[in-house]
Subunit: 276 residues, 3 copies
């Protein structure tokens, strides 16, 4: 039995997630349902894509991912089911799929048409769950829709390489639970232009000259504890998702604050790298 | 094996939910436990009822619902197990059951008496879990309690129809993850008194003349994008639970705000419908 | 198949928990994964220990507990796997294990060494999940590490008994979802020194003379409702975890407030008991 994952902006209080799980178990008593996140900022496609992009591959091939963000169908936001990279995604055609699988061409996309659809305000329950159960039972995509080619492309947040390859201008695409700020500059892009040069990372009025592979590399453990850097110091990191991240060592948004609050960085703000 | 659902005000941080799940798995290694919500506002029976009322039916018949809100037993708040509408509920007799199943007469109610009860401050673990496991193993309600008839009735939040059927005075019963405001006025009541007439919905200083079936109906897609209504506009909706809801299109409580914050509407505030 | 529990400070929004679950299901398709908490305050070892200490025993023997708080390995924070009290814990050697199992000597501790380790910033995924799956498949601890004896001991928050046994000076170790304040004074310590005497509990400028076994014992149900104590009154309680707790009856941090906010009590603040 395939796994069905849920990624939504429904939050953890309302009845929506419970109703979805009950309906799935009602159809498939041995279903395996996994919550990826229900705390996407409402209607935030970019955030949703970052989270799914960095978690879907961990699941076994054939996993079915329900994407419940901005899912109400309109003439400009059709329901689609996509098979790409060995995984199924059920979503509205709002750009999220193109952001998740930007480097991979989908093998199959259908526009969803199910019999006797409910035209209400809870399409994740009324439509996506039905399609997910169909796929989980081994059903083909062709049965729940017709071929579709007009996948909405969102690419607005790519970093720009300017100044003859001496500068990369990126932007903030995600702020995590610790307030760490994730840029859209991937390690691969950084290394492609670096050519062994020194560099400076500029964000607001801060300058950083080193990128670590893990947070604790900021600490020199050969020093006496009283002389070490510690909680509250700013660092840059290639994070586990492969992006350049600005972090406060051992940050806590509720106490010392995180990179987002201490640097005043928000979504779409600029992070610049100059090669020297 | 029956499903056991959990609806509590325990939140997501403390050890309570983990301890409950561990105990259930210890008794029933193949149990299927589903979180409906742990984010009920503390001791808020109305909120708990709204969430359970709109999710329990999605689960298969025979599902066991543990209701962990205001569950400490007193002489005025006895522990009960109820079989109604094909589902089991284990709860304190605090009114929540009457709100969930207001239109359906319970088939069986018992006051819970288990051997060697623990008289502590965690009755959901000490009592409800034991009863749930008993039912999940196919045990009868009569074994864990004696027949009980004094189900506490809560009905205070029914809308009033006044002015010779020309006005419905409702109130706010729930505010969802998006800040959307749900009234206690059901579509069926509205339609019963409308008789094809025009109407106005009044909430604070706002007046609404239309009720949609989905949020995006506020958008006229034949218009140029620059001229359309959009995120931030107020609308009324028959929501997926059948209630009249006031919503801000594509609201986000953390940015543009929701209907609750923008209109200043809170629990129990009045929403009036005048038929014209 | 053993249960694998997760206790982390990852929060509920990011991709971390989804990626962990996907990876486990990819290795063990019939794994049973239980979230204990993902809302530990970042890097807060004491909080993590309180939550795990009060939930792990509920799970069946052989359960595998992944502890994802302050888990980045350094020369001073090695990765360990511990078998103690019939349970497995996978953690960094940051003191959390000593706090959880302070009264029980671990049967086996190994320092984790897995082949081809990833040295990144997501060791819970890269290391702990591998070790957990190894144990879940019935593998021995010796295979993933070498014997280790240098378990970091954290004991700083023990209460002090002073004044010839007439005074216990404790401190706040946890604040729960209701804002209730949990001290590190256990019932057993309190009873050992009480000897039937009266007592006063002092916290900030408040004095409490009674300790209840459940919250509702503050109410005298023989009184008319209008004369009773009620929501908003301060009480002391032996909580379900065996600690002395200060609580506001039916508190809600979002409305009436909790003991933490109303008394101004925070982590590490002092709670004093004088025997009279």
């Amino acid at each position: 039995m395939a796994i069905i994952t849920l990624t939504t902006d429904f939050g953890h209080k309302d009845h929506f997630v419970g109703a979805i799980k009950g309906t799935i178990y009602n159809e498939l008593s041995d279903a395996k349902i996994v919550d990826i996140s229900h705390s996407i900022s409402p209607f935030n496609i970019q955030e949703c894509a970052y989270i799914l992009k960095n978690s879907y591959k961990a699941f076994p091939p054939g996993t079915i991912h329900i994407v419940g963000v901005d899912s109400e169908p309109t003439v400009e936001n059709k329901h689609i089911a996509v098979y790409v990279d060995g995984h199924f995604f059920i979503s509205a055609n709002n750009g999220v799929i193109s952001l998740i699988t930007s480097e991979i061409k989908p093998e199959k996309i259908v526009e969803i048409h199910i019999p006797n659809p409910v035209h209400g305000s809870f399409p994740v329950l009324d439509v996506f769950v039905q399609v997910a159960c169909h796929i989980a039972r081994g059903g083909k995509l062709e049965v729940v829709g017709k071929p579709f080619e007009d996948l909405k492309l969102l690419k607005e947040f790519s970093p720009r390489v300017i100044n003859d390859g001496n500068t990369i201008v990126g932007s903030v695409i995600y702020i995590d639970n610790y307030g760490n700020v994730i840029s859209n500059i991937q390690r691969s892009l950084f290394e492609a232009y670096r050519n062994g040069r020194n560099f400076e990372i500029l964000a607001r009025n801060k300058k950083i000259l080193t990128i670590y592979n893990k947070y604790s590399e900021i600490i020199d453990f050969s020093q006496d504890k009283s002389k070490r850097k510690g909680p509250g110091d700013l660092l840059a990191l290639f994070n586990s998702a492969g992006y350049i991240e600005l972090a406060i060592y051992k940050s806590d948004l509720n106490t010392v604050g995180g990179a987002s609050t201490l640097l005043g960085l928000d979504y779409r703000d600029t992070i610049t790298i100059n090669f020297l």
